[in-house]
Amino acid sequence: MRTTVRFRGRELGTQRPLVMAIVNRTPDSFYDRGRTFEFDAALSAVDEAVADGADIVDVGGVKAGPGSVVGVDEEIERTAPFVTEVRRNFPDLVISVDTWRHEVGRAVCVQGADLLNDTWAGADPKLVEVAAEFQAGYVCSHTGGAAPRTRPHRVRYEDVVRSVVDETTRQAEHAAEIGVPTDGILIDPTHDFGKNTRHSLALLRHTDQLVATGWPVLMALSNKDFVGETLGTELSERVTGTLAATALAARDGATAFRVHEVRQTRQVLDMVAGITGEREPASTVRGLA
């Protein structure tokens, strides 16, 4: 059963799963390759995402994979003024920022960010304290202990699902303990991070076990390597696989999806919710006239 989530007072109903739109202010992220690096291009991407039905935008200032070094100041410069502008344009939109650094978290919360997406699983333990201080939401991730911006190399788990459940719930309980509002805490199995493709597939196969923790589950699946490896497709041919994974995880109770393709994801989630009965069809005239 999905529960309502709330980030700095902005409440999101969960009649259907939520869509978190990725907007990268980076020149080198793996999928968009700098398409929204420029300030105005990124603002347009937010407009488009909202028009397509995004519930949350997730702003990133550093690509996840290894590459050129981005210092704290530069990451703040890429994210904080942008958050200011998005907040001005969309007073009610939930704004998330994807960062592992507490200095960045503080800078963006001052500018009105609602949610800190700590993709590197508490690599900087002060980031969750910033979420508590600003009463912002917080995403608890799982990387198997990987350092930020590193790739997996022969990573191993006795039981990857157990590892994810244990680590993300431990972080969620810690976040709640130090004052992060409990209805703003999400857990994310963090596909591909510190995992090979079989690990990532197992986590989708057992979405129900993540949902059973009681914490709302965020799934970040969009166009990732595990999709490409599963289908044997390159980067440009991963959307269909992403949407298939999205449909199954939604059916199993995931609360939110972090995505590149907002409109297609919304359609998939609305359709799944229609099938499960959580959402009324948009129109039902057929055979009833």
Binding site: P66, T150, R151, H153, R154, V155, R156, Y157, N196, H199
Partner: protein, 248 residues
């Protein structure tokens, strides 16, 4: 006394099927592994010691199981009581069709073992039987290109080239001289195992042959075969002194 040695890579993808449709990428490397294995057994060892890196140094004996389950693949080799680390699991897989040719033992060496510790372990392993063959699992740098698991370190390929030359030349001095901190920085998994080989072979005169040196996924893989000319042992003092000096 060491009568033969073989050096092999140990990525999970060496086992056919693990990489799915891309398994064929390593067919050539597998064939060279088989060649090196046959040369190892041609030396008629009474004991084959399988040696690879792990979190700790240990002798696992011969009653062993290797499994790729922690890597998401439910494949096991053997049904013994001791569970092997990845490097030795790949060694156990390599031996699958050779198990009736000699007695086998599985030893791990700690990733952080000092050169001197590795060297002495090699000397002890060589003394375990009259005719010992060493099956060494060790990989080169995982930082060779921007697409490597460990991204790019500019000196990674030169480092691997140096290893390839040492394996080709049976150069125990070069292997004994490898510095742990460099290997760690370049994500080189083979350093301790190669230094055990250096210790085991230090009193012989190795004749090396490099059968394979490739990096299809950005990690250096080597297949090498060492045999030993003549039967008279020589002193391994120079290599031992070098290893001791590096450890101090």
């Amino acid at each position: 006394m060491l009568v033969a040695a073989g050096v092999f890579p140990h990525p999970p993808v060496l086992v056919p099927g693990v990489a799915g449709q891309r398994s064929a990428d390593l067919d050539g490397t597998r064939a060279n592994c088989e060649l090196a294995l046959n040369r190892l057994f041609d030396a008629d060892p009474e004991l084959v010691v399988v040696l690879g890196g792990d979190d700790r140094t240990a002798c696992h004996g011969s009653d062993v199981t290797g499994t790729l389950a922690p890597y998401g693949q439910a494949t096991t080799f053997g049904d013994g009581s001791a569970r092997l680390p990845l490097s030795l699991t790949i060694g156990r897989w390599l031996l699958e069709s050779h198990l009736d040719r000699a007695a086998c033992e599985f030893h791990s060496v700690a990733w952080n073992a000092t050169p001197a510790e590795c060297f002495r372990l090699g000397e002890r392993i060589a003394d375990r039987a009259t005719q010992v063959a060493l099956l060494v699992l060790g990989d080169g740098s995982a930082c060779r290109t921007e697409r490597s698991p460990g991204f790019l370190e500019p000196d990674a390929i030169a480092y691997d080239d140096h290893i390839a030359e040492a394996l080709r030349g049976g150069d125990t001095t070069a292997l004994a001289a490898l510095r742990p901190e460099t290997a760690e920085r370049l994500l080189v998994a083979g350093r301790p195992a190669w230094q055990v080989l250096a210790g085991a072979a230090s009193e012989r005169s190795p004749v090396g042959e490099l059968l394979d040196y490739s990096a299809p996924y950005g990690v250096g893989y080597f297949v090498a075969s060492w045999r030993f000319a003549g039967s008279s042992p020589r002193s391994g003092r120079a290599e031992r002194d070098r290893a001791e000096a590096l450890t101090e």
